[in-house]
Each structure stands twice: as structure tokens, then as C-alpha cells.
């Protein structure tokens, strides 16, 4: 609205001039549009809140043993007590501190979910990129494999994998690759691997769909005419464009995986002894109506963590200032 003769009289006319852009109606103070777009790039308070929350979770994961909270298997009071000054978040059905459950639980929940998501993204991404880029036979073969994986109910597959590779109450000297591991760790690792396999097909489909779109772009054709090798085209031209969709999908997947990990423990496979958010939620589920704090606090931990991750992922895409051109 810099040119005075273009400023219309009524707000309705103003809307018409702006092509129906309602946001410009609010900016009657005459602030240039360019300044507004730069303001959008400021990080904002939620960015820092998310960073702080994730830092807290990271501290929980790394230094749970050194924090001034009760041990996870320590009975701190009566069972199912609500929050009080002694037990900040109350006690659970065994009289243990819910706060401890949440803090120690971060370790396994986030560990398993992260490893699983990372593994699933790498496997699914590779399958999707190869299928979408090469098409034809490779696509047919890989897509059928993915479809077969999708056809098997996820929980059943995970139960079978973990139950087979890490039977509970197994022997002391279990091995993962070349490392001696305790049965509990072994079970946790296999849970993560099973969940990674579970996450693979969905991510593969997202990656394939995106790759089909992006590899038809003319810049891929341009790279081909230069004589670029296929691997370089995939890594340099296609992957960076496919990654955002894959990442946002995977981040949402973390939430689902935290719950599945709990469900596995509920069924008695994997490590059923330790603490995780999922197990804590499961423990409280039966008493949800009378003692909601047992479910509420672990859920809150999970919710805030996933929200922070998603928010940060979005924000990083914004801040990197890479957009699709609008032509």
C-alpha cells in the first residue's frame, strides 16, 4: 500500500485489491510486507522452550542415576498417592515415584524410539529412493517386498521378532554382533530393531512417492545431460528434496513407536523389568479414572518431547530459508 492512489476507500475494496489476502487487512499501519516476512524468520519463544525441554530430556537420558530422585525400584510411600511435596508427581501402583519412572523411562523410550526411527528411515529411505528413482523391475520387486511387510500385522511381527531373538529370561551370555550384553539390554536392542523393521514400509512408501515426483523434475534431467552418475543424482538432487517429507513422517512415527514399545512390554516380550514411559502408562491404565496422575505425567513427558521434536523440525526447515520457488 505504498502508493496512495491505490489505497481504496473501504476494507472490502482493500480486500479486492489485495486479491483477497486477509492478512494485509490487519497491517493497516502500513508496515512493508518484506519486513513481515523477515519477522517470521525470528526464532521465537517456543523455539527456545522446545530446545530447553529437549535438553532436559537429554539430561534425563544421560544422567538419570545422578539426579536427586528416588531409584526406580525404590518404594517411596503408599501406592497410588497423588502429587505431594514428598513425591512431586505422586506414586504408582507399586508405591514407586512416578517422577523417577518418567526420568528413567526417558532413557529406554527415547533410546528405542530414536534407534528404531533412525533405522527405519535409513532402510525405508533407501528402499523408497531406489524404487522411485530406478522404477521398472527394481520398483516392482521392492514395492512387493514393502507390501508384504505391510500385510503382516505390525505388532505380531514385532512380537515374533523380539520373542525369537531375545526370549525373556534368556541366558546370561547373550551377544549382539560382537558385544556381550545382558539379557535386558539385548531385549531392548532387539525391540529397537523390530520396531525399525516395523517403521520401514511406511517410510519407504513416503520416500518412493516423493522420489517419483522429484526425479521427474528437469533439474534431474539436467544432471543426467551433464553425465552425472545415478548415485550422485540420488544423493545430491533427489534426497535433499525427499528428506523433509520423510523426516516429518518419521518424527510423528516416534510417538507411535514409544507406544508400541510399551505394548511389547505389556505382552511380556522385550525388557519387561526396567522403566519406560510406555510401561508407566500401561501400569496406570487400569486406574485411569481414579488415579489419572499415573498416566498423565508419563504421557505429558512423551507428548512434550514429541511436540518439541516436531516443532523444531518445522522450524529448522523454515530457518534454512529453502523454499520451492513459486513459479
Amino acid at each position: 500500500m505504498s502508493e496512495p492512489d491505490l489505497v481504496p476507500d473501504s476494507p472490502v475494496d482493500r480486500l479486492k485489491v489485495d486479491g483477497g489476502n486477509v492478512s494485509s487487512l490487519a497491517e493497516t499501519s502500513g508496515e512493508p510486507a518484506a519486513a513481515a516476512s523477515y519477522q517470521a524468520k525470528k526464532k521465537g519463544v517456543f523455539f527456545w522452550l522446545a530446545i530447553i525441554w529437549l535438553a532436559i530430556i537429554l539430561i534425563c537420558v544421560l544422567f538419570a542415576n545422578f539426579l536427586p530422585v528416588p531409584e526406580i525400584d525404590e518404594r517411596v510411600g503408599d501406592i497410588r498417592q497423588g502429587p505431594s511435596s514428598e513425591n512431586l508427581l505422586g506414586t504408582n501402583n507399586l508405591g514407586r515415584s512416578v517422577l523417577s519412572q518418567c526420568i528413567y523411562g526417558a532413557r529406554r523410550s527415547m533410546g528405542v524410539a530414536m534407534i528404531a526411527t533412525l533405522g527405519g528411515t535409513i532402510m525405508g529411505g533407501t528402499i523408497g529412493l531406489l524404487a522411485g528413482f530406478y522404477r521398472r523391475t527394481i520398483d516392482t520387486v521392492l514395492t512387493s517386498i514393502v507390501n508384504i511387510m505391510l500385510a503382516i500385522p505390525g505388532l505380531v511381527l514385532a512380537l515374533a521378532l523380539v520373542g525369537f531373538f531375545a526370549p525373556s529370561g534368556g541366558f546370561e551370555d547373550q551377544r549382539f554382533l560382537f558385544f556381550d550384553v545382558s539379557p535386558a539390554t539385548n531385549a531392548t536392542l532387539w525391540t529397537a530393531i523390530a520396531l525399525a523393521i516395523l517403521a520401514t514400509p511406511a517410510i519407504a512408501r513416503v520416500a518412493r512417492a516423493q522420489t517419483l515426483v522429484w526425479s521427474d523434475r528437469e533439474f534431474v534431467l539436467a544432471s543426467r545431460t551433464i553425465g552425472t552418475r545415478n548415485l550422485r543424482i540420488i544423493v545430491r538432487d533427489v534426497l535433499p528434496n525427499v528428506l523433509p517429507a520423510m523426516a516429518s513422517f518419521a518424527l510423528i512415527g516416534i510417538a507411535a513407536l514409544v507406544v508400541v514399545e510399551a505394548a511389547l512390554a505389556f505382552f511380556g516380550v522385550g525388557d519387561v523389568t526396567g522403566a519406560s514411559w510406555g510401561i508407566a502408562i500401561n501400569n496406570g491404565r487400569a486406574d485411569l479414572e481414579d488415579y489419572p496422575h499415573m498416566v498423565l505425567f508419563p504421557s505429558l513427558f512423551m507428548f512434550l518431547t514429541i511436540l518439541s521434536l516436531n516443532y523444531l523440525a518445522d522450524k529448522f526447515v523454515d530457518l534454512s530459508d529453502i523454499r520451492e520457488a513459486g513459479v
Binding site: R217, E218, F219, L221, A222, S223, R224, T225, I226, G227, T228, R229, R232, R236, D237, P240, N241, D321, I322, R323, E324, A325, G326, V327
Partner: protein
């Protein structure tokens, strides 16, 4: 029209395309899209060759086939004396630097996630990386993969596998049937008896027939897996090697990219670190041109480079191409459907219809004295910037473009041609010289008495006063983009 033949080739060109054919399979029915059929033309050094035709006539496919993305079904493309179809992958990579392409959509031809510097430097980077020795595992992969695929597609192996699967299925079926009709024993199990025994043998036989395919598959996969794991340490070693020399290379590239960007009129100093979305269509197209220039090509194929741009920006890009052509001695193949643009920029024009060449000649000749009915129709469709010319006076072609899956017999234009006769459906016209430097593929070429139709004359009913008044403000050249 459907012109075959090579009468219009002059020989000794910078680029010679002979009998170029591109076909794409459609579904599994065995049908093919005949995108380009037997097209020949040549390009002299420093010349601009315009390729025109309506949408879907195979112009762009021709350009891409010359670049071998994808390679043509048959026909030869010779760059100087080198036949591109005879080159191996590595040699082709060397030659590609001499042949570059610019695409239609300027924004889509730049990767939104790379900086302008990286985009323009990419041809140099690819070339530089090729200079490093391929590590043995990758070489083994390159050699092994085609051999393995060939073995897999071996027709005996495929036949054996098919028979094996059939036998196996038959055996299983027989076993089921035999068991179903057998006598139940004391536990209720049914014994198939002799039938089941026979079925077992058949299943065993089927398994034996499948064994070769299984062995090939298992061993092949094992070798592939081994190669993949072997590649990792080699790749790391190579990356270290590349990283060590990267700094020096980057400095050299920066200079070249800077020069190329300045040459196309992009302020290099501020643009190097920007991303494509920060540029307008015209600027993006000039960045594409910079990318094509950075390897110092002899020939640039422009695939409708200005059709996505504003008219004012079109002139900018066209002038830039003209300047580059003069200063660098580049030959251009200019694919477009904007006839006015083609007329202005080209030294020679090829008119295409449904994958075939109709007419070849100097643009002025084609515009004033078209010999092919299709050319005349195209030329009369050029808008004339004169309010006194009735746009409805443009010659129309009836009907739709026929399906390229089942193109018409004989001359491909006959289904829409007013002059078509018996011979047009039976014999395909050969390209022949009808005037000096004008070649046409038509059984009934136009002659002088037909040309007046193509000249969009001013109606005589208008009074001379008004006529003069209007003409004094009318631009002189039709479609003046320059």
C-alpha cells in the same frame, strides 16, 4: 508429409542426426508410441537450427534423444565425426561437455536445495570427480551388474524357470488331488497312494528345473552383497582423497562460475550463495544458460527456453543467446512452438509433424513461400500485429493430432490435409529439394498460386484514410521480440 530421407543433409556439420527414431513401449500390449520416426537433420558450425511443430510432435523428444536421455531406439547422432551411439558410458561422459541442453521450465531445472554456485559448478564438479580413479569394488560392480542382468534375462534360463514353475505347480496340484481322493486311515489321514508318490517325483523334478535359476540368483546376490560391503572402505578412502584436494578445486571453480554468471548478466558477487527461489524466471533461465556455458560447449540444445517466460524477458534471453552464439561460436538447436521467435533467431528451420520432418529451409522462405500444406497452416497461425487483419482469416487445420501409437499410413499429415489423395495413404513422401535450400516431404507440394493464402493481406474494403492512420502506428515486423 511424414518425410523420410536425407536429401536435405549438407554434410560436414557440427552435429548430424540421421534416421533418428524414438519409440516408447505402452503397457504390456506391445504397442509403441512412435514419438520420433526417422528424423534427419544437420547443424553447421555457428548456425541456429529452429525446430517447430505443434505440441506432441516430438520436438522435445528429438532434443532429449540427441542428449541420450533416454538414448534413441535407432538412428545415429554424430558430433563432428564421433558417433554418440558407439561410445561407452565413460567416453560419453567426456563428450557430454561439448553438448549441452537448456530446458523449458527455468525454475524446475534448478534444484531448490542447492546454491547457485553449486548448481552452476555441478558440471565442473562431476568432471573433476570423474578424474579420480574408480576404486576396484566400483569397477567390479560396473562390470558385474550388466553381466548378471544379461544372465538373468537369458532366454533359456527364463524358459527353464517358467517350465520349472509350471511343473512344480502341476505336481502340487496332483498331490492335493491324489490326497483328496485317497482312503482315510485309522487317524483320518488320507493317503494319496501312487498318485501322491508320482506327484512327489514331479515336484522334485520341478525343483531340479528351478535349480539353475536359484543358483544364479543366490550366487549373484551373494557377490552383490560382498561388493556393497567392499565398497564402503574404498568409498571412505576416496572421500578422504577428494576432501584433500577439494579446497584448491573450489577456488578454481569459484572463478569459473563467477565468469559464467557475469557473462549471462547475473550479478555473481551477490548471487553465488543464494537459492533458486530468490530469482525470477528470466534470471533462473540465465542461470541455466550459465550452467550450460561453464563447460565451454560447441552446441547448446534449447528446449523451448523462452516459452515459460514473459515476453519482455523472452527478448532478454533470446538476445543473450544471440550474443553468446556470436562471442563463443556456439551452434544452437532451438526447439520452440513460438514461430515468431524461431523466425527471428534461426538460420534454418525444420518443421515437424507427428515425429516426422515436413519441411526444411530458410525461415524467410518457409514464411513467405511455404511448400508444405502443414507449414502454410502453421505460418498463417502467427498472430499479425495489425488490427485490420481478421484473426479468423488464419488457416485452420481440421481434426486432432492422430495418435502416435497408431500413426496414419503413408504421409502422416494426410488425415488432416485438404490436398490428400490416394497416393498419400499408400506411399510415404521422401524429402526432396523444391527450391534452392528448401526441402519438402510432400506428394502435392504447394506452388506460387497457393502462396497468396498464406499472406494475411489487409482487407480492401477499408478506406484509405483509416488504413494509413492505423498503419502508421503498427509495428513493422510480426511478433517483433527483438
Amino acid at each position: 508429409m511424414a518425410g523420410s530421407g536425407t536429401a536435405h543433409l549438407r554434410g560436414g556439420g557440427a552435429l548430424t542426426v540421421e534416421h533418428l527414431t524414438v519409440e516408447f513401449p505402452v503397457g504390456t500390449s506391445g504397442d509403441k508410441v512412435h514419438a520420433v520416426s526417422d528424423v534427419s537433420f544437420d547443424l553447421m558450425k555457428g548456425e541456429t537450427l529452429g525446430v517447430v511443430g505443434e505440441s506432441g510432435c516430438g520436438k522435445s523428444t528429438t532434443g532429449k534423444a540427441i542428449m541420450r536421455v533416454p538414448p534413441p531406439t535407432s538412428g545415429s547422432v554424430r558430433l563432428g565425426a564421433i558417433d554418440l551411439s558407439t561410445l561407452g558410458a565413460d567416453q560419453l561422459r567426456d563428450v557430454r561437455g561439448r553438448l549441452q541442453m537448456i530446458f523449458q521450465d527455468p525454475i524446475s531445472s534448478l534444484n531448490p536445495r542447492r546454491t547457485i554456485r553449486d548448481i552452476v559448478a555441478e558440471p565442473l564438479t562431476v568432471r573433476w570427480l570423474d578424474g579420480f580413479p574408480r576404486y576396484p569394488a566400483a569397477q567390479a560392480w560396473d562390470n558385474f551388474t550388466p553381466a548378471m542382468l544379461k544372465l538373468w534375462k537369458n532366454k533359456w534360463l527364463v524358459l527353464l524357470t517358467k517350465i520349472g514353475l509350471g511343473v512344480l505347480l502341476g505336481g502340487v496340484l496332483l498331490y492335493v488331488v491324489a490326497s483328496a481322493v485317497g482312503e482315510p486311515d485309522q487317524f483320518g489321514r488320507r493317503d494319496g497312494g501312487a498318485g501322491a508318490d508320482l506327484a512327489n517325483q514331479i515336484i522334485r523334478g520341478g525343483g531340479l528345473l528351478l535349480a539353475p535359476a536359484a543358483i544364479v540368483g543366490i550366487i549373484g546376490s551373494a557377490i552383490w552383497l560382498l561388493l556393497v560391503f567392499l565398497m564402503i572402505p574404498f568409498k571412505i578412502a576416496r572421500s578422504v582423497l577428494v576432501a584433500m584436494e577439494k579446497k584448491e578445486f573450489a577456488k578454481e571453480v569459484d572463478e569459473k562460475v563467477f565468469t559464467a554468471l557475469e557473462e549471462v548478466g547475473i550479478p555473481a558477487q551477490v548471487s553465488m550463495t543464494k537459492y533458486p527461489h530468490e530469482f525470477s524466471g528470466g534470471q533462473a533461465q540465465r542461470i541455466s544458460i550459465a550452467r550450460a556455458l561453464v563447460l565451454d560447449p560447441e552446441i547448446i540444445i534449447c528446449d523451448e527456453p523462452v516459452s515459460a517466460l514473459d515476453v519482455s524477458v523472452q527478448a532478454q534471453v533470446l538476445n543473450l543467446l544471440e550474443d553468446l552464439k556470436a562471442s563463443r561460436d556456439i551452434s544452437l538447436i532451438f526447439i520452440a512452438h513460438d514461430l515468431a521467435v524461431v523466425k527471428n533467431i534461426s538460420d534454418r528451420v525444420v518443421v515437424m509433424y507427428l515425429g516426422k520432418v515436413c519441411e526444411v529451409g530458410q525461415p524467410d522462405l518457409l514464411y513467405s513461400k511455404p511448400r508444405h500444406p502443414y507449414t502454410r497452416a502453421l505460418m498463417s497461425a502467427i498472430p499479425v500485429p495489425d488490427p485490420l487483419v481478421d484473426p479468423r482469416s488464419a488457416e485452420e487445420i481440421d481434426g486432432e493430432l492422430p495418435s502416435p501409437i497408431h500413426p496414419p499410413s503413408g504421409c502422416r499429415f494426410r488425415t488432416r490435409c485438404a490436398r490428400a489423395t490416394e497416393i498419400c495413404s499408400t506411399a510415404e513422401p521422401e524429402i526432396a529439394e523444391v527450391a534452392d535450400g528448401q526441402f519438402v516431404a510432400c506428394h502435392h507440394p504447394l506452388d506460387e498460386k497457393d502462396w497468396h493464402l498464406s499472406e494475411r493481406s489487409v482487407p480492401v474494403t477499408v478506406s484509405s484514410d483509416l488504413d494509413g492512420l492505423l498503419h502508421s502506428t503498427t509495428p513493422e515486423a510480426p511478433g517483433g521480440v527483438k
